[in-house]
Symmetry: C2
Subunit: 340 residues, 2 copies
């Protein structure tokens, strides 16, 4: 066999010929459309299995649906996102829809690029996870493709949102630490977080600052900044600890950062209670025992799917769902040591 040209697979035309009917007829049985006799349906179905026929999504896309939901994910290292993903695929598993993921590692530009790649491929609906994309860009996209944004707080008229109640989550985390006796509580967040914005980390930071102010402990030294990822978080916490921070506890903006903080603490043999956010699966590992705020990522992902379905059904007014988080107390939080 010399230079086997890749064979083209069967088209609707081939099926029609094999079954001795018209293309339209085949298309109809394909779509379960009205007006096909049983005998015809059977002949056509037989021909389809016989020829291993699979409709070309691209050709369908030229007329209507692609039966594809696109989801943009910024970081597969963060298992909260993958839990959201699991929720969406589970919600879609018995439907005609297929999930397709566009990775968007490395920041904002990639996030937008991923979304546009999905739009170019004519997904029927879009689930967006990167929280810091410009609202105007999202709204432009939402004009052509139904979109649900996960995690961002300020609602838009143009798209749906699914978010956690971050103020509530922060309160739970902070009260827990305060009840244990901590007063000097640091907060580890991303460089970009800004209490005036509406992304989840910004909202958490804002609420943290309010709480500390209430206790008369607001202090810039207690806000530690890091890039995304455990390594950077570890380095940031090492720096803070080595420069003699008086913090006895740390509230991290999410578990990935908390895990990085735990690395630094273990390496330095320091005493510091840590609370995370999200409750990623590894957090419950007994060797880690990370106290954290549980977010039901799977439910949030599933809800996003249903919101999309409602849009397909014709809903035009924007929906905004909020999920309550829940503190999970483990071994990483203890009362402050007395020798402080």
């Amino acid at each position: 066999m010399v230079d086997a040209a890749r064979p083209r697979s069967a088209t609707i035309e081939d099926v029609a010929a094999a079954a001795g009917v018209s293309r339209a007829a085949v298309s109809k049985v394909l779509r379960n459309a009205y007006g096909v006799s049983d005998s015809m349906r059977n002949r056509v179905s037989a021909a389809m299995t016989e020829l291993e026929y699979r409709p070309r999504v691209a050709a369908r896309a030229m007329r209507g649906r692609t039966y594809t939901i696109g989801i943009e994910i910024p970081d597969f290292g963060n298992q909260f996102f993958t839990r959201v993903l699991a929720g969406t695929t589970a919600a879609l598993s018995d439907t005609a829809y297929q999930v397709v993921i566009a990775p968007a590692e490395h920041g904002l530009r990639e996030g937008l690029r991923a979304i546009e790649a999905l739009v170019d491929r004519q997904v029927d609906g879009l689930i967006v996870v990167s929280p810091r994309l410009e609202q105007s860009a999202l709204e432009r996209i939402a004009r052509t493709t139904p979109l649900v944004m996960i995690g961002r707080h300020s609602p838009s008229e143009m798209y749906d949102t699914v978010a956690g109640d971050d103020a509530h989550g922060v309160d739970a985390a902070m009260s827990h630490l305060v009840e244990l006796g901590h007063r000097q509580i640091a907060h580890l967040t991303l460089h970009e977080s800004d209490p005036h914005e509406d992304g989840p980390h910004s909202v958490r930071l804002a609420r943290y600052l309010e709480t500390m102010a209430l206790h008369g402990q607001a202090d810039d030294d207690l806000v530690w900044r890091s890039d995304e990822g455990q390594e950077s978080a570890c380095a940031a916490v090492e720096r803070a600890l080595q420069s003699g921070s008086r913090a006895t506890a740390l509230f991290a903006a999410h578990d990935e950062l908390a895990l990085g903080a735990q690395r630094a603490i273990a390496e330095l043999g320091a005493e510091l209670s840590v609370v995370g956010y999200d409750d990623v699966p590894i957090a419950s590992h007994p060797a880690l025992g990370l106290t954290t705020v549980h977010q039901p990522g799977d439910l949030m992902g599933a809800r996003a799917v249903h919101l999309l379905m409602e849009r397909f059904e014709g809903r035009t007014v924007a929906a905004h769902e909020v999920f309550k988080p829940e503190l999970r107390v483990r071994t990483s939080t203890r009362p402050p040591s007395l020798d402080g």
Copy 2:
């Protein structure tokens, strides 16, 4: 604004009209094709930005390329897979190609479904990670779409493979344990692993059995079985430990299982050295300190991309690449305790 119909975005026709040229001309500047004057290129480019024109992938797909690489991932909870993914996206980041991921949680059937979904969407090339799909099914698919399989050992004439040298990796892990003084070494693997098959876990199991036979210690009691995921691994190890296993060390078929084993060990306060496989990022966390066999997932993903590119360029003979793994010794392995 009542019931705003979603606006359709600009087509090549619109751009042509705006620039005062023909559709063919626009298509040519789009593809950098031969035979366009500078003045025309400029006019057209201007019109494209002006109208925010984006070519529809579906329409392109009807004639040629989609500039899309599809990758099937069975389990986002396993960070080895996501590292492979990172390698592919990085390798593709400066090209015209876009990665698109189809999730395939829950076993074989889903794996095939995901792949076919990708084929239906006319990806130009396919990277497959689920190791247990039937070879015949893969070869059927490879006849129409270039495919590279990651992790499976037995080569195929029809598609390319990228795998780790698992025999070598197992040898490194086992020698390490033996040198520490362990003799009763258990192996934790999936229920489906079968020493006569060619998936990575099967190959690891086979090599483990050979090694144990060499040391005169082959024993069915030392092969522990589990489903995918930390929870199931934890339960399996608990069961084995509670039924009084005499093992002093455990070699797990991959890190996810090893992490689950560590859970059981911590919960039971048992003494058991554990070695994993893959070296997922969390393995190096000091609280876990998991000794494991490092596989360069990112390099493997990148290599897969390049193999695909070579296929696009016309290569027809199958390639099979092997990557050397490397033991990383951490704190989860110690000499057996003397009171055994």
